[in-house]
Symmetry: C2
DNA sequence: TCATTATATCGACGTTTTCCGATATGTCAA
DNA sequence: TTGACATATCGGAAAACGTCGATATAATGA
């Protein structure tokens, strides 16, 4: 768990926004054909749409969040679904709490 | 309390190092003529020395930490003493814990 | 007042980050 | 297989960051 990578990932308004939205996917995203937004996650297109940035940027930002261990990805057919990794986030915040 | 500024301040190895040292000043810094390292803080020269960077950089990094609310500064004579603002840090970490 | 010392600020330059458009890859359906 | 769609990756321009040396400011003491 590289703390600096986590802080870097969190040093960006758009990425914090994504994490925020993913806290309550059904509140922020349209329901998806036979996919449980909460269990599986939200696809890149929907995040791109809300972000008001290009698909390229959204994809890269999701990658950064994933590398930092804050979200996880699941590929299903054409779609990649991203969701928060609450376990990991709990470990990270408790680590920050303890060591900062 | 600007969260992003905090994360940016923490996205740097040297600045994290400074925060770490300031947790236990007497362990990492020489005693200072009639100044309580713990109560008043550590002066810029001593931090510069340990950082292995220039005085300019140390001063700027301390400024960044201060603007993020992580440390506070006290000027006494020629010296500026920096110490962790534990109150603020507690608020910040608890805020991260709660909102991340 | 002047020299000295501690700190802050300025200007610069290389590196990293931000964000984009273009294109490649993967997947499905016809 | 081909076309269409979702996502990832590449290459780049502009902004921000990391870090320095030089210089300005503040405080002290001779």
């Amino acid at each position: 768990m590289d703390t600096i990578e986590v802080f870097k990932a969190l040093s960006n308004e758009a990425r914090l926004q994504i994490l925020e939205w993913l806290k309550d996917p059904t509140a922020y995203f349209r329901p998806q054909e036979g996919v449980d937004l909460v269990e599986i996650g939200v696809c890149v297109s929907q995040i791109t749409e809300k972000l008001n940035m290009t698909q390229s940027t959204a994809s890269q930002y999701l990658s950064i969040l994933q590398r930092a261990g804050l979200v996880s990805a699941t590929r299903l057919g054409k779609w990649t679904y991203y969701k928060r990794d609450e376990e990991a986030i709990k470990k990270i915040t408790s680590n920050i709490q303890q060591n900062l």
